[in-house]
């Protein structure tokens, strides 16, 4: 049987939402989650990364996890555009809870309201959290 002939020529592209709603320093899950995001993008899926709840703090400048011998995630977040991940959104309400403004964020991200985020989530194929 000719296997090549049965494979689809173009990979079915899905919209995948990756939701970061907690700090990335607490355990290894945050680091693993970022790896999954990059992997999904490497497989040419449409990736959207959403920061909400405590997760908005993962975008703060001046994080120094090295003082706890933890890996700094900022270089990974900086590489998102390299992986063609340009849809990075932050929930407006969560930013307000922590009193954050857009210029306090370390990477470029769109500030979107909870209700508009919900509309986007509804049209997604899969939602991932950790």
């Amino acid at each position: 049987m000719n296997l090549i002939g049965t494979l689809p020529l173009v990979l079915d592209v899905k919209t995948l939402f990756f939701i970061i709603n907690k700090g990335l320093q607490g355990n290894v899950c945050g680091q693993e989650f970022l790896d999954i995001i990059l992997m999904a993008a490497a497989f040419d899926q449409k990736v959207v990364v959403l920061f909400e709840g405590d997760g908005v703090n993962a975008l703060l400048k001046n994080q120094q996890p090295e003082c706890l011998n933890l890996k700094n995630m900022m270089p990974v977040l900086d590489t998102l555009p390299v992986y063609d991940i340009n849809d990075v959104i932050v929930e407006k309400e969560s930013m307000e809870v922590y009193g954050l403004t857009e210029n306090e964020l370390a990477i470029k991200a769109a500030v979107v309201s909870r209700s508009d985020i919900k509309k986007q989530l509804r049209s997604a194929d899969h939602l991932f959290g950790f």
């Binding site: 939402f17 909870r114 919900k118 989530l121 997604a124 194929d125 899969h126 939602l127």
Partner: protein, 96 residues
Amino acid sequence: MLYIVNKKGEVLKDCVERLTSHDVILLIEDAVFAAVKTSPSSVVSTLASDISVYALRADMKARGLDAQRCYERIQYVDYAGFVELVENNKPVRSCF
């Protein structure tokens, strides 16, 4: 949209804050404690009437909880029902 929650407290609260009309919430693992009427977490009683609330029967049974102690609005599903909820309410968000 279906929200699967496995803890009460902050996790459940964050999830409930983001529910909108006709969303479905499924309580599994330790989140089933929130189904009990006298539970300190009263979020289930504050949900709008167009939100469907389900609890996983196996997790209730494992913890010795029976439906009589729980809010009347809660519906119960077994694993087959769980799969049906997933199939009928895409996309699914797991809140852990």
